[in-house]
């Protein structure tokens, strides 16, 4: 108890949890009978309710905490549907006389492809379609497998995926940014104007909820499924 255990599982630092670095089984705070702070990584005795260092509330890792992940994820997924079905932005030129109209994400991509563009639609496709869907899949998978038995390698790959999802989250708003910037810039009144469509809000919500889902995922759960006993048995 006097020894402060490694805090790898609390911060989710893969380097710290790298089994090779210790050469022994990974020791998590939970297994050490402690509770780690998800914010700063400090571990505390299990009865501690609040991290004295950063003020974050201390919650022990529990699969039931995944409920929040699922909830946010579903919310994000639900909003992802209108984000794709409804128009992303509404352009009008010459006060509506010159045409224009609504365009959805996919519709816009297809239109650009029709016009011979490759790069921009590719970027939009990646940012607005592939990434969000990939995030959904990743989070679903993480939430499913969290706390389930896994090898060290599996745990590390899960952690990497988690890291990627977290990192990408803030960049998923490219479409929303584009629409927001265009709406702000292209307000030439009668000549041309661009307005965000309902899909923009939906998309933003979807991304936000997905980010919340990723954030509410407790990476400490990744390490809970490690085959400690088996390894120990093997070691023994």
């Amino acid at each position: 108890m006097s020894e402060i255990p490694d805090l790898a599982d609390a911060t989710g630092d893969p380097a710290a949890a790298e089994p090779g670095a210790h050469g022994g089984p990974v020791l998590t705070a939970h297994r050490a009978g402690l509770i780690g702070c998800r914010s700063c990584g400090r571990v505390w005795p299990p009865e501690t309710r609040e991290c004295a260092r950063c003020g974050e509330g201390l919650v022990p890792p529990d699969r039931r905490g995944l409920q929040a992940v699922w909830a946010w994820l579903f919310a994000g997924m639900i909003f992802y549907i209108p984000a794709n079905v409804m128009p992303m932005m509404n352009t009008s030129s010459l006060g509506g006389l010159g045409g224009g109209g609504d365009s959805t994400i996919i519709g816009g991509i297809l239109q650009l492809v029709h016009h011979g563009e490759i790069f921009i639609p590719l970027v939009i496709f990646v940012a607005s379609v592939m990434v969000p869907i990939g995030k959904f899949i990743a989070i679903i998978w993480l939430a499913l497998v969290a706390g389930k038995p896994a090898t060290h390698e599996e745990a590390h790959s899960r952690l990497k995926i988690y890291e990627v999802v977290e990192f990408i989250g803030r960049w998923s708003m490219i479409d929303v940014f584009v629409v927001a910037i265009l709406s702000a810039l292209v307000q030439l009144g009668f000549l041309v104007s661009i307005k965000p469509g309902p899909a923009a809000a939906s998309f933003a919500l979807s991304v936000a909820f997905t980010m919340l889902a990723a954030q509410s995922f407790d990476p400490r759960l990744i390490w809970r499924g490690l085959p400690l006993r088996r390894r120990k048995d093997v070691n023994e």
Partner: protein, 681 residues
């Protein structure tokens, strides 16, 4: 193992976590539930607001772009074209339109659709905005929801009038398409109140039909007494009021146009779809009204004079007011009539009782009894001239208080016959007879005969041996006689050269001219006719009778003189005188007095011959006079209180009395100096 076991979390800690997790569970799940609700709400909103899909068939889809082209109702977008396809036979294009759900229920079987494109036409340039925005489909439907329908056949052109809003549709029928044009304006007192469209050939008769849309509230102005006429182009007409040029607005000049007016009160209200006939011009339109109302009465008259100038649609006038129109002209043969009158012309005309001053809504019987009453008081029908040149004719209802009593013959078929009187014809040949009669009674021939007789008597006196044996003692007398003869010669000369006949003829010509002038300015006022009759009467009574009497008096005096004792003694006196003058005569003979006397006597004879010749030509003159008088009568008949005519008539009478006084002075000269008549100088 031993290292790790003490590190396991204790159960109190787990319980806390479980509680915390439980607490977090219910709260965080609200988010996706809320998201679901919101999304489903949005989805439902989108789905329910998606509207209904209708298809409209067009012959072509120029400018229609799926997803872009809008369906508009009163310029508000209420739908969008979703797709364009072909009909099975590839003849038409099916345009699928997604209509907003709030208007979809109103799109029933009466809905109409057309494509709005920029149009450049005589009515101007319209829908130029569609050049930029692209075409759109315009729809029109009413506010009622009736028979549901999702498939429609689009129209080729916009229903212009439909867009105007409330109003009523009528049908206009015309023998030709003149004045009719798609979208041509309908004007009421020059104000555009509607438009026409859908020109088509009638299937039932040989007319062109057009749908006419009159905007509310102007559609209330249309009744069964409404007439439409063509205002397109321009027209020049020469009528009773002179020359008139009618030009409507430029647009109507170019594309046609129709005007309407409700000329008479009391028309029955008309329903939508009522058929109106297009009249060629306003005048005809006004005339066409007579006979249209149910209570109009039809009458006919029988005449046997020339009807040229009278046509169907000629006016029927009463006290200068047009009260009806002639509807039919025909020949009526009745063997029961006396010889020469079997064939007569039947003029049928229609009269609007309201124009006669009867209450609106008076029945035909009431109107007929009214007329019967008027006829009993002297109302008669006749054909009379009208118009500036007197060429056209009208049927005039005139009051003739002195006419023998008569009544409307209600037994004749097909219409009652109103008694007619002969026309006061402005035609010279026809009116001549009356004046002939009047002039014939002037005893001019008697006067002339008297003059001839007088001449004969004079010649006899001159030719008698007693006279030829005139003694030279009568020289003084002869001198007087010569002077008288000179007078006579001069007068004869005057008669011949300055010629009274010509004067008379000129006077008559003047009268004729006056008559002509009067006839040109013709207007028929009975009072003037009476005046002129009086004038003619005065001519008859005053001038010629007096002259005649005077001439006869002269002649009787002459005869008395010739037959008197003095006259019987004349040869003896003459013999005395002649004996006394024989020496003188011898002197005279030497001085070629006898030759001179013979010459004088020859001259006298010549003069007498001239007078006789003139007398011979007088009947011819009288004939001309009569002809002229005929004209004068026409003038009198056709003429009202015009001062010019009176002057002309007066000058004519002056000429006549001058001619008469020429006769008179001749007679007086003869009376004063009968001997001068016999002996030349």
């Amino acid at each position: 193992m031993s290292e790790t076991s003490p590190l396991r979390p204790g159960s109190p800690s787990r319980n806390t976590v479980a509680r915390a997790a439980q607490a977090g569970f219910s709260l965080v799940w609200l988010v996706p539930i809320l998201a679901l609700v919101v999304t489903l709400g949005l989805a439902w909103n989108a789905f329910s607001g998606r509207g209904e899909l209708i298809t409209v068939e067009f012959s072509d889809a120029t400018g229609i772009t799926p997803g872009v082209t809008a369906l508009r109702f009163r310029e508000v977008t209420v739908g969008k074209v979703e797709g364009v396809a072909f009909t099975e036979d590839l003849r038409n294009v099916l345009v699928s339109i997604r209509v907003q759900p709030d208007v979809a229920p109103y799109i029933d079987d009466k809905a109409e659709f057309w494509i709005v494109r920029p149009v450049v036409s005589a009515q101007g340039i319209s829908r130029l905005d569609t050049v930029l925005s692209g075409v759109f489909i315009e729809g029109f439907w009413d506010a009622t929801t009736e028979q549901k329908q999702t498939h429609f056949v689009g129209q080729d052109q916009p229903t212009l009038a439909r867009m105007a809003g409330e109003g009523t549709w009528f049908v206009l029928s015309s023998p030709g398409a003149k004045g009719l044009a798609e979208g041509a304006p309908i004007t009421f007192r020059g104000l555009e109140v509607g438009r026409m469209q859908n020109l088509r050939l009638s299937e039932s008769d040989e007319t062109v039909l057009a749908d006419v849309f009159i905007e509310a509230p102007h559609d209330q102005r249309l009744t069964s007494a409404t007439v439409f006429w063509d205002t397109s182009g321009f027209s020049v007409s020469l009528g009773a009021q002179g020359l008139s040029l009618n030009v409507a607005s430029l647009s109507q000049l170019v594309q046609g146009g129709v005007a309407f007016s409700t000329m008479a009160a009391g028309g029955a209200p008309v329903e939508s779809g009522h058929l109106f006939r297009l009249q060629p011009d306003e005048e005809t339109a006004r005339a066409s009204l007579f006979g249209s109302a149910e209570d109009d009465i039809r009458l006919s008259i029988l005449v046997d004079n020339d009807l040229s100038g009278l046509t169907t649609d000629s006016d029927v006038v009463y006290e200068g007011l047009t009260v009806g129109r002639v509807t039919d002209l025909g020949v009526d043969i009745d063997e029961s009539r006396p010889d020469g009158e079997e064939v007569r012309q039947r003029i049928t005309f229609v009269i609007a009782p309201s124009r006669l001053g009867l209450e609106p809504g008076a029945t035909q019987d009431e109107a007929l009894s009214f007329l019967q009453d008027r006829v009993a008081k002297g109302l008669r029908a006749r054909v009379s001239s009208s118009g500036f040149l007197g060429i056209s004719k009208v049927v005039a209802l005139v009051e003739q208080p002195l006419a023998p009593p008569d009544r409307i013959d209600t037994d004749t078929k097909p219409y009652p016959t109103i008694p007619s009187i002969p026309p006061e014809v402005s035609d010279l040949s026809a009116s001549a007879e009356g004046l002939f009669t009047r002039l014939g009674s002037l005893n001019l021939e008697g006067l002339l005969q008297s003059a001839t007789n007088m001449m004969d008597a004079v010649t006899q006196v001159a030719a008698s041996p007693d006279t030829q044996a005139i003694p030279s003692s009568l020289r003084a007398t002869l001198d007087e006689t010569q002077a008288a003869v000179a007078d006579l010669k001069a007068m004869t000369q005057e008669l011949r050269d300055a010629n009274a006949a010509a004067n008379l003829a000129r006077a008559l010509d003047e009268a004729a001219q006056a008559a002509e002038a009067v006839r040109l300015a013709a207007a028929d006022v009975p009072e003037m006719v009476v005046q002129m009759d009086e004038a003619a009467q005065a001519i008859e009574e005053f001038g010629f009778a007096e002259i005649s009497a005077e001439a006869e008096g002269i002649l009787s005096d002459l005869r008395a003189m010739l037959g008197s004792k003095d006259a019987e003694e004349l040869p003896r006196n003459l013999s005395d005188t002649l004996q006394a003058a024989s020496g003188l005569l011898n002197d005279l003979r030497d001085g070629n007095a006898a030759g001179s006397l013979n010459q004088t006597l020859d001259s006298t004879r010549v003069a007498a011959d001239e007078i006789a010749k003139a007398a011979e030509s007088l009947p011819e003159l009288a004939e001309r006079f009569q002809r002229l008088a005929t004209r004068a009568e026409v003038v009198i008949a056709a003429y009202g209180g015009d001062g010019a005519f009176n002057q002309q008539a007066r000058s004519m009478m002056n000429e006549l009395s001058r001619a008469a006084s020429a006769f008179g002075s001749l007679a007086r000269t003869i009376e004063r100096n009968p001997r001068a008549f016999i002996l030349g100088r």
